[in-house]
Subunit: 226 residues, 2 copies
DNA sequence: GTCGCTCTGTTAATGGTCGTAACTATGCAT
DNA sequence: ATGCATAGTTACGACCATTAACAGAGCGAC
C-alpha cells in the first residue's frame, strides 16, 4: 500500500517538497537560517514565491522541517561512526570526531539544529542522544546514588524513545553532560571565539574528549551533590 | 581634557549614539538579533531611518557594537559576583550562577554575544575570561606537563590582555574548558533542548558546576595526552 | 561678524523581503 | 462529462535596508 499506491499527484508533490527543501537547505548551508529567502528558493525552482505556500505554512515552518532533517542527518552520521568502532572508548572518540566534523562541514545547519529555537524538536535530537547513551551504557556508568535526588528523578522519568529499554539515571546523566560539553566547544569554535585568541579548537576538543574517555575508563567522575 | 573639553556637538552625538544603542538593544533583548530593525529604532526615536547611518555604517555594525556592549555588561556582572565571595570554590560557584542568570535574564543578548558571528570580538570576551582565569590561578592549576605539547604552546602564546601577568598554560586550559562547559549547558538550555525532555536545566547546571568545583579542590583532573 | 566647511538631519527612490487575495488551469474521482 | 480539490499564476500591501540628493545648524578661521 505504500509508494506505488500513491496517486500521480501525490508522488509529484513529494518530489516538489523534496526539491524545495533541497534548495532551501542549500541556502541555509551557505548563509545560515537568516539567509533563507522563500523568494530565492522559488527563483531557483523557476516558480513563483506564493506557490511555496501550498507546501509550507511559511518561512518558519520550512526552517523547522529543515532543522528536523538536519538532526536526522547528524544522527545517521553518528550511528555510522559508532558502528565502525569496537570498544566503548574507541566508539566515544569516533562519535565525538564525527560530531565535530559534521558540524564544521555545515556550520549553519548545525546552528539551525542545535542553537535556533526551531531546532528544539526533542524527538529529532533523541536519536543522536541515543548513540551517546548506548556507549555510556556499555562502558558502565556510575551508580545513580551520586546524582542529586531531584535530578535523578527527572532523569529516571525521561523517556528516551519508543521501544527502548530505559537506561539508568547515571547513564543518562553522563550522556547529557557529554553532549553539552561537545556542543559547548563546537559552539564556541563556530563563533570563532577560540581562533580569535590563537587556540586551535581541534586540539582543545581532542583534549576534552580524552577527559571524557578517562572518566569512561574509571567508571565514575560525577560530582558530589553539594 | 576629557568630557568637558568636548564640543557641544560631540556631547550631543554621544547622547544620540547611546540612545540608538539603547533602543536597538531593547529590540534585540525582546526578539533576538534578527528582530533588530533600523526602521523601528528610528521610529521609537522620532527620527528618520537614514539618519542612523550618520552613526553606524549599517545594521551589521550596530549589531557588532551591541555584542561588544553585551560582553562588557556580562563581564561586569561576573566581576561583581567574584568579588562577593572569598574562597576560590565559592567564587567559582558564584560566578557560574551569575553567568547563567545573566544569560537567562536576556537570552537573546547572550546569543548575540556568544553565538553570533558578531560576538567573536576576542578582546570583549577576554574580560569575562579573566574572571575565570583568576579563580583557577588562585586555586592552583595542574602542571602544564599534562597538556599535549602543541596545545600547551598555543596556550602559552595566548596574550590575555594588556598589563596582566601571564597565567601558566594549565590555568588557561582550565579556564577555556570551563567556559565551554558552562556555555554548552546554557546554550542547550536556551534552545529548549533540556526542557523538551523534562529535565530542569538548572539542576544539570549545578551538577556540572560541582564537578568543576571538585576538580578545583583536587587540583588536577586534566585528561591524559594519549 | 561673516564665510565656508562639516555634521546632522530630511525626503525621495531603489530593490529586496514575507505573506495574502483573487483568479486560472489541471488532475482526478464520481 | 461534470465538478471539486490541487497547484500554479499575477497583483497587491506592508515592511525592510540602503543610497542619493538636498537643507539647515554648529563652529572654526579670517
Amino acid at each position: 500500500m505504500p509508494e506505488q499506491q500513491l496517486t500521480r499527484r501525490d508522488r509529484y508533490r513529494r518530489r516538489t517538497v523534496a526539491e524545495i527543501k533541497e534548495a532551501a537547505m542549500a541556502q541555509v548551508r551557505s548563509g545560515g537560517p537568516e539567509a533563507l529567502s522563500l523568494a530565492a528558493v522559488a527563483r531557483t525552482m523557476a516558480m513563483s514565491a506564493p506557490a511555496l505556500y501550498r507546501y509550507f505554512a511559511g518561512r518558519d515552518e520550512l526552517l523547522a522541517e529543515l532543522a528536523v532533517d538536519a538532526h536526522l542527518a547528524l544522527a545517521r552520521t553518528l550511528e555510522a561512526a559508532a558502528a565502525g568502532a569496537t570498544t566503548p572508548a574507541a566508539r566515544l572518540r569516533a562519535v565525538a570526531v564525527a560530531y565535530r566534523e559534521w558540524a564544521l562541514a555545515q556550520p549553519h545547519a548545525y546552528r539551525l539544529a542545535c542553537e535556533s529555537p526551531h531546532g528544539c524538536v526533542a524527538s529529532a535530537a533523541q536519536r543522536s542522544m541515543n548513540v551517546l547513551l548506548d556507549i555510556v551504557a556499555e562502558a558502565g556508568a556510575p551508580p545513580d546514588a551520586v546524582i542529586p535526588a531531584p535530578l535523578r528523578a527527572q532523569l529516571h522519568r525521561w523517556n528516551d524513545g519508543a521501544g527502548r529499554r530505559g537506561h539508568p539515571a547515571g547513564v543518562r546523566h553522563f550522556g547529557l553532560v557529554w553532549w553539552s560539553r561537545l556542543h559547548g566547544l563546537i559552539s564556541l569554535e563556530l563563533a570563532q571565539h577560540t581562533v580569535g585568541i590563537g587556540i586551535d579548537p581541534g586540539l582543545l576538543y581532542r583534549s576534552e574528549v580524552e577527559t571524557m574517555v578517562d572518566s569512561l575508563r574509571h567508571g565514575v567522575t560525577a560530582g558530589s551533590s553539594r
